[in-house]
């Protein structure tokens, strides 16, 4: 399969960030009862199907491990600001 070109990816990334900002703006402006009701409906709908997951436990853990290896996510920990180190 041919991956999407860089221009398409960049456009898609910007659109997603725009959407996240719009969503945050809406959540900020809506009463807690309203935004949380909508969030609940969505999460509960996904939750209702949680037992339909088509993998075994072993397959699931294996998938997570592989996804982590392939992920672009950084691993480890970045350095804390100097003045905050070892304050714990």
């Amino acid at each position: 399969m041919k991956p999407p070109d860089l221009e398409f990816r960049e456009k898609n990334r910007k659109e997603r960030i725009w959407f996240v900002k719009k969503q945050a703006e809406w959540v900020r402006s809506a009463p807690n009862e309203v935004w949380s009701e909508q969030q609940c409906k969505m999460i509960n709908a996904l939750f209702a199907n949680k037992d339909q997951f088509p993998l075994t436990k072993e397959e699931y853990l294996n998938m997570i491990e592989k996804a982590r290896i392939l992920s672009m996510r950084k691993k480890g920990s970045p350095p804390l600001p100097k003045r905050l180190r070892r304050l714990g």
Binding site: K21, V27, R28, P78, P79, L84
Partner: protein, 195 residues
């Protein structure tokens, strides 16, 4: 969204709790009998209203000795939870001590699950030591300080992480220490501004 700040506590009233939130509450009710904890990563964004779900909730706990861990383990097993990693208490403890995470779920229902790990670096220690209490309709969620959470998500760098960071930053803008956020971003080598 209305968030009140009373002292160091953030309070969100009248927020409906989802099945995911209730699952997390049930686990935390047990865990807090034995140890402190801090919630990090994606679930923090969800607590603040991000419209997404998650398969796993990341929790950091301080290092504890085996006998305390065994009590935690046994209590969860007695209450019909299980650990996804195919290990007994001793094996699970070894995983934690090695710096890896273990996964806890309701018996025969491995999504969602709680990913638990010991503090293993200064960022973890900072998050745990400076954790903040988020009170949602009387239920307590101890979360990572917002400033390090945002900077760390930017540092992780996946699309989902960056979107979570932006969301938390925008929603919590009234409570963020902007100088501290800038300091974390500088130290982590990440940009706080996104376009």
């Amino acid at each position: 969204m209305t968030i009140e700040k009373k002292g160091d506590i953030l309070i969100i009233q009248n927020r409906q709790l989802s099945q995911l939130d209730l699952f997390v509450c049930r686990i935390l009710d047990i865990l807090t009998d034995y140890t402190s904890y801090v919630i990090v990563s994606g679930y923090v964004a969800i607590l603040f209203g991000r419209s997404r779900s998650t398969e796993d909730i990341d929790i950091i706990i301080p290092f504890c000795n085996y006998s305390i861990f065994k009590r935690i383990h046994d209590t969860f097993i007695e209450r019909r939870y299980e650990f996804l990693n195919a290990e007994d208490a001793s094996g699970l403890y070894s995983i934690l001590v090695s710096g890896s995470a273990i996964r806890l779920c309701e018996t025969n229902s491995f999504i969602p699950n709680i990913e638990i790990k010991f503090t293993k670096n200064e960022s973890d220690e900072y998050s745990l030591t400076h954790r903040i209490e988020l009170l949602i309709d009387g239920k307590s969620f101890w979360i990572s300080p917002i400033e390090i959470q945002i900077a760390f998500k930017f540092w992780l760098g996946s699309e989902k992480d960056i979107e979570d960071a932006i969301f938390i930053r925008e929603v919590c803008t009234d409570f963020i220490d902007k100088d501290l956020l800038r300091e974390f971003c500088l130290s982590f080598g990440v940009e706080n501004e996104t376009s």
